[in-house]
């Protein structure tokens, strides 16, 4: 018998849009965190983002060259000064289907910290994250900049902006700062200038760049990082103007391949040129390429290496053995074939080498439940991937009560 009842409420949000509060967007994530008792787990997110172009005029204030700073600050153009990127080709929100990737115009009333600190805190608290590593977004294309000095200037300006506005505001927010690796001298100075700043837990190379990063000119950069005990991350990205990528007629195909491509190329060079032998204490990680490519390249490299080992004389072990000692971020984790995923995790030694990443607020973000709910992982493996491995790797304090 049907009956009216007053107990039913209408949800406060009927349709999520670009103005919806992060905590409303992620209300179901909060529910997952409560159901799974994340308060008993250390959860470290190795990869999240802010959208620096929203505050690009602020970043420009930190450009160190006075003339370029003046030009950048004075310019009234709507496009972010000096920044290269596929802004018009930013189809990540799938034609408005994913509003939080279109824009986050939610209300922020707090004024004691930067707006991006508030947005980051809202995401952390909703998802259940203890530490969140924040990276920029369009700057992931900065390695393709035609003006090398601009890559250096803008990278440094953003590093300074990050330190002053995000990292100093909340010690739960961390970053691996931008390393303008195409200029090794400038990179060394970045390490010296920023390596001891609060919240800096390593440095990040944007992988999208057509530079052979095993060449001799870069060795002093890797040596400096190894000496300081700072991990080096390669962050994947896309560049639709790359000739092979231009063969894709839709974003989905280009994004699927490009986010793996440059990490794949740099990793192969890293291994075959014996960088793990040259810098045995340097911790290297590969971010935002998913993980299904790892068993592919392990198998293929071992096979090819054994046929032509004279071309990679620096190696003392199989390529896959070096790869198994590297670190990888989990997102976007391919989960449609659990049997394949289990084998992938076994091959890469996920229990000690894999780090959970959300990639929030991007369109293919993953929640901790993507790890927590896997039926084949032990509790120890889950704890390691979700946070324990990162705590050790970055030598971070254990969050209170955990």
């Amino acid at each position: 018998m049907a009956q009216r009842t007053e107990e039913i409420q209408e949800a406060p949000i009927q349709r999520i849009d670009v103005h919806t509060d992060t905590r409303e967007i992620l209300a179901n994530a909060r529910q997952q965190a409560l159901e799974r008792n994340y308060q008993d787990y250390v959860i470290f997110d190795i990869d999240s983002h802010h959208v620096e172009t929203v505050h690009w005029h602020e970043v420009c204030e930190y450009i160190e060259d006075p003339v370029i700073r003046s030009q950048a600050v004075t310019s009234q153009k709507a496009s972010p000064y000096g920044l290269i990127g596929d802004r018009g080709l930013s189809y990540q929100d799938v034609g408005g289907r994913i509003p939080h990737d279109t824009a986050r115009n939610e209300t922020v009333e707090e004024t004691d910290v930067h707006r991006d600190v508030v947005l980051t805190r809202r995401a952390m608290e909703s998802i259940g994250i203890d530490y969140m590593v924040v990276f920029p977004t369009p700057m992931l294309s900065l390695g393709t900049h035609p003006q090398l000095h601009m890559e250096v200037l803008l990278g440094r300006a953003h590093n300074r902006w990050m330190v002053e506005n995000l990292l100093k505001a909340d010690n739960r927010i961390k970053s691996m700062l931008y390393l303008p690796i195409s200029d090794p001298v400038a990179s060394l100075k970045v390490i010296e200038d920023f390596g001891d700043e609060p919240g800096v837990i390593g440095f990040m190379v944007t992988s999208v760049r057509n530079k052979a990063l095993h060449e001799n000119q870069y060795m002093k950069v890797y040596a400096a990082l190894e000496e300081r005990g700072l991990p080096l991350a390669f962050h994947g990205g896309y560049y639709w103007h790359e000739p092979a990528m231009a063969l894709f007629n839709q974003f989905v195909g280009m994004h699927c391949v490009a986010f793996v491509l440059w990490n794949l190329v740099h990793l192969v060079n890293w291994v075959l040129n014996g960088l793990p032998e040259r810098f045995p204490k340097l911790k290297v990680m590969w971010i935002e390429s998913g993980i299904s490519w790892i068993p592919f390249i392990m198998q293929r490299l071992d096979n090819e290496y054994l046929l032509r080992s004279s071309e990679a004389p620096a190696l003392k072990r199989l390529p896959s053995e070096y790869i198994r000692e590297m670190f990888f971020s989990s997102q976007p984790m391919e989960r449609n074939n659990l049997e394949a995923l289990e084998l992938t995790m076994k091959m890469m030694k996920a229990e000690t080498q894999l780090l959970y990443a959300s990639d929030w607020p991007h369109q293919d973000f993953d929640l901790p439940s993507t790890i927590f709910d896997l039926p084949f992982l032990s509790d120890t493996a889950k704890r390691n991937i979700l946070g324990e491995t990162a705590l050790k790797l970055f030598n971070l304090d254990r969050p209170n009560g955990k």
Partner: protein, 121 residues
Amino acid sequence: MPDLYVGSEADFDERSRKVIVKDGLEIGVFRVNGNFYAYENHCAHQGGPVCQGQLFQKVEENLAADRTSLGMKFSEEHTHIVCPWHGYEFDIETGAVPANRKMRLRKFEVKLRDGDVYVEI
């Protein structure tokens, strides 16, 4: 458990929805092409708030008789509810992902009685 009263049929314009909460259970009730559908507000992918997403017509490849592509077109027949977290698309009639029908939303029966809309839980 009595059927849940959602509202009057007149409350629902074409392609409108009402997301309701009952004891922590969130249900989205939609009116599309004059028909009513109800699903749990929990995406089959990562648990996102699918019923707070947008309705889009299914996008189809427009193929000519000679199998060349004429581009894309919107389906006149199939409407999708799109999860706002990751863009997963579900057929509003069946609650299933068209390319993987094993992935589907939890569906609830909608009953229309005397001009009112109820959901059976």
